[in-house]
């Protein structure tokens, strides 16, 4: 179905190839997962399948690509659009129309398809992606997951035999992401659609994948094979696979169900003292204290009566479903939204109603999309701008900007254009830009969205270093594994109220919804992370 033979590709004005001598082969009806660190050429590889590379991007390509019997390099993307449906990262950025049905019909209208045929096709894809109830909705009233499903439906309108998706869930919360991935699995198993998917969330798709294509950073060769063959060779794996590898489970479990079969046998006959997560209760005064905070947005109460304390040197994970009030609470703490009632005390000062710029010196806030922060020509300049905003001359900066950049692993990038960096690096530049005033607290909104395992690990290391240095850190996140590894305390919100507040083991370990993989594998042990397992057995 798809065959690459010794394909190399270099972007215009690039000094080294983005793809270097790549060969791979995909059969009809296979579900293949493309993994690899960011910058390894995943997007470029996917775009070769429908001819966007090199037709849209320009650049030099060599080698042979055959897709469904056609050569996408010779045929234009227009011809390939009948054979390959393509879905991109951000759903909003691929829509032309504003209504679900119109969007689905757009490509068909352009192809001058007779109206009767068009009606059938649109009905078909509406059903395939479960969109029939949403058919007349405006696209901007849909949730992220629904929008991405519309994008998939639109890509399937020509009845292509191949569907290619470039990190379709990286901008979605876990629930929406799961909806999208389940839809893909159904398309593959029921329709026999050939699917090529680049994805960070391995744990959700691993059970359904026929092949993994691993693109290492640079230098080493591409690895292609079944999950069991490829997983041991790559270092970016979900906790289940890591535990299985540590304990030498064979065959390698890909689902929790398979994993539990191993873990029950492994636990049998062993006595394990449940790990106690007794941490000394925080002493002293909290750095941030909210008292009875109530916030309304567009006439609706979004946060009601929240009392939250964050002490220096702790990481608090703020969790809850979409619309639970997590982001609103963070914005209120930093002064972007005004509480209707209650007060906020930072560093023993009542800051309720104070200017954001004032609070911003004491409390750093990293929004969901770090790109909104970045505008300067160089990374170094971004830090200088923040200092200038606060009226601090560079020689009186609370920390030396160069030291900070080195700490964030950006020393070599100080003169780069920030928006050209990878998602993880952009996030760290944004962090540097807010940390240069040495705020005593850091609030991060969905910091792991769009990060691969490696970038996530770098973020966790960084946060833990700041924590040891005495910073009070709050993470609003859907990412259970992040909360399990990094947080000292988990605060669960629902409908604007705090419904649980305690150690990760208490709040997450017992929850059927929020339990991390390790807790599900070893119930009753109090283990949450791979490190917990290692500590107990090594």
């Amino acid at each position: 179905m798809i065959r690459f033979e010794y394909v190399s590709f270099t972007y215009p004005n690039a000094d080294r190839p983005a793809l270097d001598n790549i060969s791979l082969h995909l059969l009809d009806g296979e579900f293949a997962l493309v993994v690899g660190p960011s910058g390894s050429g995943k997007s470029t590889l996917l775009r070769c399948v429908n001819g966007l590379t090199p037709h849209f991007s320009g650049g030099v390509i060599s080698g042979g690509v055959t897709v469904n019997g056609l050569d996408p390099i010779e045929a234009s993307p227009k011809v390939m659009s009948r054979h390959v449906g393509f879905v991109f990262q951000t759903p909003e950025a691929q829509f032309v129309m504003d209504r679900v049905e119109d969007e689905l019909a757009f490509a068909l209208e352009n192809a001058a398809m007779p109206p009767q045929e068009m009606r059938i096709r649109v009905e078909e894809v509406l059903d395939l992606l479960d969109l029939a109830p949403l058919r007349h909705r405006q696209l901007d009233t849909l949730s992220g997951g629904e929008r991405q499903r519309v994008a998939i439906a639109a890509a399937l309108a020509f009845r292509p035999q191949i569907l290619v998706l470039d990190e379709p869930t990286s901008q979605l919360d876990p629930k929406s992401a799961e909806d999208v991935l389940q839809a893909l699995v159904r398309l593959n198993t029921d329709l026999g659609l050939t699917i090529l998917l680049a994805e960070h969330r391995l744990e959700r798709v691993l059970p359904f994948v026929d092949q993994i294509i691993y693109l290492p950073a640079t230098g080493s060769d591409l690895v292609q094979g079944s999950s069991a063959q490829v997983l041991p060779q790559i270092d970016l794996t979900p906790p289940l696979v890591q535990v299985a590898q540590k304990l030498d489970w064979s065959p390698l479990p890909l689902t929790l169900k398979e994993g539990r079969r191993h873990s029950l046998r492994w636990l049998d006959g062993r006595t394990i003292a449940p790990k106690s997560h007794s941490e000394s209760p925080p002493a002293g005064r909290p750095y941030i204290r909210s008292e009875g905070v109530q916030v309304a947005f567009k006439g609706q109460t979004v946060v009601q009566g929240v009392d939250l304390q964050v002490w220096p040197g702790e990481i608090v994970a703020l969790m809850g479903r979409n619309g639970a009030g997590k982001t609103t609470l963070l914005k209120t703490l930093v002064g972007l939204m005004r509480p209707k009632q209650g007060q906020i005390v930072v560093d023993d000062q009542n800051v309720t109603g104070r200017d954001v710029a004032d609070i911003g010196r004491k409390v750093g806030y990293l929004p969901q999309n770090p790109g909104a922060l970045l505008f300067a020509d160089t990374v170094r300049e971004e830090l200088a701008v923040t200092l200038r905003n606060h009226g601090l001359p560079p020689q009186h900066a609370p920390v030396d900007p160069e030291t900070l950049l080195a700490e964030l692993g950006l020393a070599g990038k100080a003169d780069d254009y920030p928006r050209d960096l990878s998602v993880g690096e952009q996030q760290r530049v944004a962090l540097a830009a807010i940390m240069v005033t040495c705020p005593g607290a850091l609030l991060l909104d969905e910091p792991t969205r769009g990060l691969d395992y490696r970038a996530k690990q770098q973020l966790i290391d960084l946060l833990q270093r700041r924590q040891r240095a005495g910073a009070a850190i709050v993470l609003a996140t859907h990412d259970v594994e992040l909360a399990a590894i990094a947080a000292n305390r988990v605060v669960l919100m629902s409908q604007g109220e705090v419904i649980a507040n305690g150690s990760p083991a208490e709040v997450l370990g017992a929850s059927p919804l929020f339990a991390p993989q390790v807790a599900r594998l070893f119930p009753g042990t109090g283990w949450l992370t791979v490190d917990d397992v290692c500590e107990s057995i090594c």
Binding site: K78, Q94, M97, N110, H136, D140, F158
Partner: protein, 356 residues
């Protein structure tokens, strides 16, 4: 069009009443997609009051003096007359009518439906407009995110150069999205370059048509050759229509759920054109003097020509048609274009526009 030709309170009142009836009829069908930020009534009240007071205070002309502001006060000093008050009120009513007509039109026809009415030859332009409309809410959201993100970094708006941190990410972000969209459209087989061309012949013909149009108009208005000018005008219009039709046929494109142009649509157009024609075209035998009502210098009772009053009734066609349609559930699911969905006559595309 009627509203802009007359200040006769009878006719203005009748048109306003017609608009109100059409609006009520449409709302009964629950066609409204976007609730108005403020009501037409409140807008009208404000405009009428403001216009009346402003005119009365600034125009000291007319014979019926109500009271006199001491001339020592600059600008406002002088007699305040009933005539000025009445004329200001009428102007306010006309403005309200124009606003109301556009609102009603907007409620009945979505922008997408308008785009579908655009000739096929201009399809790429229509797509561009459509994308622009879709871009607006995304860009607004993006702008809010950026403002918040910069505020947290201690950004304050003090001078011109402080706009840079807000504008730069917005521009770059917009460009990035535009590129992504271009890529997505390419992946879905949209290629604007191979459209059946706007070749040299097409361009020349359109240019020629426009020249004829302008020439004819100048002839009629400036040099006073009525017949010759009219002929040139018609020739120009004919040429442009012809070339649009030719190019349109070459563009291969179909419409999802095409909306047939039905008898009802013709009736609406006829009603609106009839009403407009009654007021604009100098029909022989029709006494048109009542149209030009002017309160200065002495307020008089406006004349009323029953035939012209009857002509305005043509604007009610969409309301009559709407009354024939079944009433939809008021709290039903939001449907931006119910007409398209039911394949029934498009409600009043012409009624709303023809009115003003």
């Amino acid at each position: 069009m009627i509203l802009s030709t007359t200040r006769n309170p009878w006719y203005v009142g009748l048109v306003l009443a017609a608009i109100a009836v059409v609006r009520a009829a449409i709302q009964r069908l629950d066609l409204s997609t976007s609730p108005l930020p403020f009501s037409i009534l409140r807008f009208g009240l404000f405009v009428v009051t403001f216009s009346a007071i402003f005119n009365a205070l600034s125009v000291h002309f007319g014979r019926t003096v109500l009271f006199v502001i001491p001339p020592a006060i600059p600008y406002l000093g002088g007699p305040v007359t009933l005539e000025a008050l009445v004329y200001g009120t009428l102007n306010g009513l006309v403005l309200t009518g124009l606003f109301a007509a556009f609102t009603v039109f907007n409620q009945a026809v979505t922008i997408r439906q308008l785009i579908r009415l655009v000739p096929q030859a201009f399809f790429p332009v229509a797509i561009m407009v459509s994308i622009a409309i879709t871009f607006v809410p995304v860009t607004l959201r993006h702008a809010r995110d950026i403002r918040e993100a910069q505020a947290v970094r201690g950004h304050r708006l003090r001078g011109l150069r402080d706009w840079l941190p807000l504008v730069m990410p917005l521009l770059v972000g917009g460009l990035e999205r535009a590129l992504q969209l271009a890529e997505a459209m390419t992946a879905r087989g949209f290629a604007s370059t191979d459209e059946a061309g706007h070749d040299a012949l097409t361009r020349l013909t359109i240019l020629l048509g426009l020249t004829l149009l302008i020439g004819g108009w100048l002839l009629r208005l400036v040099w006073g050759y009525a017949v010759g000018g009219l002929l040139l005008l018609l020739a120009g219009i004919g040429l442009i229509m012809g070339i649009l039709w030719r190019v349109g046929r070459r563009v291969s494109r179909t419409n999802y759920r095409p909306q047939p142009w039905t008898g009802a649509d013709w009736a609406i157009v006829a009603g609106a054109v009839g009403a407009a024609a009654g007021f604009v075209v100098p029909w022989p035998g029709l006494d048109r003097s009542s149209i030009f009502f002017y309160p200065y210098p002495q307020l008089s009772w406006p004349a009323f020509q029953p035939l012209l009053g009857l002509v305005i009734a043509g604007l009610l066609v969409p309301a009559l048609l709407a009354l024939r349609l079944p009433v939809k559930n008021k709290r039903g699911v939001k449907r931006p274009s119910p007409t398209a969905q039911r394949g029934e006559p498009q409600i009043p595309p012409a009624g709303g526009l023809g009115g003003p």
